[in-house]
Subunit: 505 residues, 2 copies
């Protein structure tokens, strides 16, 4: 491949949206199915999700949560129990109306067995889980309930994009019940922090945690917090949310308990979730013009080995080294996990195979050929190195440095993403500058703009609405924001803190 | 609790079906939801499923499979591609016909946004996965495809029973594609054997593996093999199936490939699955009149510790021992897994707490009270011991024997179940005896009968139909069956092998 060509065409610079689709295609992460808006998550992509699940699940369990499973279907009357909630989801849900198919005289199969009450395929499970909780909670002794569910959910999106917005997606939804407001608020923040830690330490994605504005809250929530990440096109991606639901859903579902003092009270609930959307965040944070780059902590394989040989004799010698590496590595643990090695011994052209794996993004790629044997070295590529330059090192050295190398790749990826976030976040206090910041310099590349603006906001929904004409929204009010006197960037009225404005997915 | 009382009422003997429901209720494994036929899998039950998933998933990966995820919805036209297949599922599927809700003038929400083509909530995924495979397979080099999916599926059952038959259930479905018939047949048997090994070694459930008769095949399969287990009421429970689909689904979905010789050929496919039904099998194999008993290999917790104390001083001393046990056990591994200890320090009556845990069925229960401290021992209950008699042993001894004890419990549970199967399987060669075998001795307990009959069958569907009046079916033609001349138990015609007849779930 010529020096100035890249494995992914177009490049990020040339066409970001198309680059994104092609990274997914070339790394075989997912594809569109024939079912409108539903994706197929292919093995290489699904492994990333499995690894995310494993890490997050451990964090949930460490914080006292257990998993359970609730029905896929929600009776229409349940969804209606909370007014804001149903309004938020009514326009985009799949409705089951019949329970069998019958053959007509002309041979055509048609829905039959009409249900008395339509069922909604869960877009989220507050109301159906609330119905169970209402039965389970009687006394303060039954609290707290700390349950998570791994599940598929359906929201009938009109415009879909792989991982970022699909009709069906996979997620986890935590649903907790508490005796006091203070405990429920604490839980909301605890899980927000779990998400932040997970995003930063495991996915190597730096995030800004903060409160969503009223108009961006989860339908029915008292307040919603989010973690927001900056993608390489400087747009924001909401990557996880944690909601304090107050007593609103407890009242809707009648989750009541006898307090220590013997008084009947409504409980306080929270919910929180992340989804396969995080795989989209991962791609847009880490992938480059040569394809996917997967952080070591969730890599489908940590090391890919490509043996190069011309005959059986050579093959035998090469595989002796491959097996030696396998044996030595099997004794190591990377953050308490086994290290996964994939050996690609397929009979295809070396160049093709090499680029195939570069595009797939495993952290380390090793080539071992007859020349390497002579020199007693192996050719190691660190996928996070944009130059794609190989180092030639001895097996012994490779293995003894392996854990450090993987940690270094993980940190390097995080630091690079963190630099992007810092370099493209600006305090802006002048409206004209603000407008210019969000105005694309090139009309053909509307997505290219300044980044995140940290600016004052007076708190009015009206001001929030006015910036939407630039496709800019308030991402969140960062938890780290300090009290500071200033003027609203939009209306000029008094404001006491900065918020994050950005274009977003 | 008086000696002659049991924790579960009624007992197995008194009312088996009700006993089953009550074991589930008391062990908090699952419950019915308000959504017709859909269950809520509660944390203690879901942990069993998670542990099953973990063990099975390892076995799938060891045999070269990877996981992926395909859409929940199947276009009606896809399901129709294979004639037998659609006929098998048309009468019991949830149909999505609309994609939003709209408020009528009277305020009522009604389904709106009618779909051009109805979508079927997957009852199984051969056709939707086949559509992807048709795109992925072009050359013999693309084969085999060895993919598994963990998912929820929906079959609109009219009569449901927790775990055994529910409208929505969780399962795994493997879907593989091969270049030759021989390879696909080999895969079918390989996975049947994985299921057998999983059932026997991990779930401690002995099974009979064999071929289903034509009338009991999976809709669209060329042949279906199953593993069948005997429940404590001597009825059979089909616990897993592996299907050789020939080229039928490949033709329906157009999964074609260029062979090595350059010829275009249809591929050969298989599918195989087990579901949350296995939790039902587990209960009906192992639970007793005092509740659930979970095999150590999939236990939600291996050890439950109940500290007994009256004041802070005692508590401190007791917890010193609890922590000592925790520390020592944390160094051990049971079949490469961490050993899970649950400490129940809730402020409820000792007797209540004790029976609560007996009904939950963790393999080992430990009580530690002031008297135990004096004697330097702990009170250990092996849940597989029907007498519920405790042993008083020293911590050191308990810990050093722990792995052996857990293995012993596992083996003991398997052997007990194996004995039931052997003791209640009879070679029957006389029709009157056969009828008597399946005729309940007590009219009030129609479920009590002889067990499994190993009898000759001529192979005719007609004979198979005739025994259905006793609610008896051929469970399978065991793989271990030997060629043996005999006469069909029903019609008396020549037969060359025995099959397993039984009542079943």
């Amino acid at each position: 491949m010529a020096k100035n060509r890249t494995a992914i065409t177009p490049t990020r610079e040339e066409n970001y949206a198309e680059w994104y689709q092609n990274v997914i295609k070339e790394a075989e992460l997912a594809e569109n199915s024939d079912v409108r808006g539903c994706m197929v998550i292919k093995p290489w992509g699904y492994t990333i999700w499995e690894n995310m699940q494993r890490e997050l699940d451990d964090m949930f369990k460490e914080t006292g949560h257990t998993n359970a499973y609730f029905p896929l279907f929600i009776p229409l009357s349940y969804l209606q129990k909370e007014a804001d909630h149903v309004e938020g989801f009514a326009k985009e849900c799949a409705i089951v109306t019949h329970h069998r198919l019958t053959q007509q005289v002309d041979g055509k199969l048609v829905p039959d067995g009409k249900l008395d009450e339509p069922l909604v395929v869960r877009p989220t499970s507050e109301t159906i889980i609330g119905a169970s909780y209402a039965k389970w909670v009687n006394s303060y002794r039954d609290l707290p309930i700390l349950i998570n569910q791994w599940a598929n959910v359906v929201r009938w999106e009109m415009r879909t994009r792989l991982f970022l917005r699909t009709t069906e997606f996979l997620w986890q939804e935590g649903h907790t019940v508490h005796a006091t407001k203070a405990e429920a608020v604490e839980e909301t923040f605890k899980m927000l922090n779990v998400y932040k830690k997970f995003a930063e330490e495991i996915l190597a994605i730096p995030v800004i945690e903060g409160e969503k504005t009223e108009s961006e809250r989860f339908p029915g929530a008292v307040f919603t917090y989010s973690i927001e990440a900056m993608m390489q096109d400087k747009k924001a991606l909401q990557s996880g949310t944690s909601h304090f639901l107050g007593q609103k859903f407890a009242k809707a579902s009648k989750i009541k308990f006898q307090s220590k003092k013997g008084k009947e009270e409504f409980a306080w609930t929270t919910s929180w979730g992340v989804s396969t959307r995080l795989i989209g965040a991962l791609i847009m944070t880490h992938a480059d013009d040569n394809g996917m780059i997967i952080p070591p902590r969730i890599a489908s394989a940590h090391i890919v080995i490509l043996p190069i040989y011309k005959n059986d004799e050579e093959r035998e010698k090469i595989f002796a080294v491959v097996n030696e590496i396998g044996k030595k590595v099997s004794k190591l643990r990377f953050h308490d996990r086994k290290i996964v090695i994939k050996v690609d011994d397929r009979d295809i052209r070396g160049g093709e195979k090499n680029w195939y794996w570069i595009k797939k993004g495993a952290p380390l790629k090793i080539e071992i050929g007859p020349k390497d044997l002579e020199k007693n070295t192996i050719a190691v590529l660190r996928r996070d190195n944009p130059s794609l330059k190989k180092s030639f090192i001895e097996v012994e050295e490779f293995v003894s440095n392996l854990i450090d190398t993987l940690d270094d790749i993980q940190n390097n990826m995080y630091n690079k993403a963190k630099k992007l976030l810092i370099d493209n976040t600006f305090e802006i206090d002048n409206y004209n500058e603000f407008v210019k910041f969000f105005t694309p310099k090139n009309i053909n590349k509307p997505e290219i703009h300044g980044g995140f603006a940290s600016s004052h906001w007076c708190g009015s929904v009206d001001c929030e609405e006015r910036v939407k004409k630039f496709k800019v929204t308030i991402r969140n009010i960062p938890s780290s924001t300090k009290e500071e006197k200033g003027k609203c960037i939009i209306c000029g009225k008094d404001s006491n803190k900065r918020v994050i404005f950005a274009k977003s997915y």
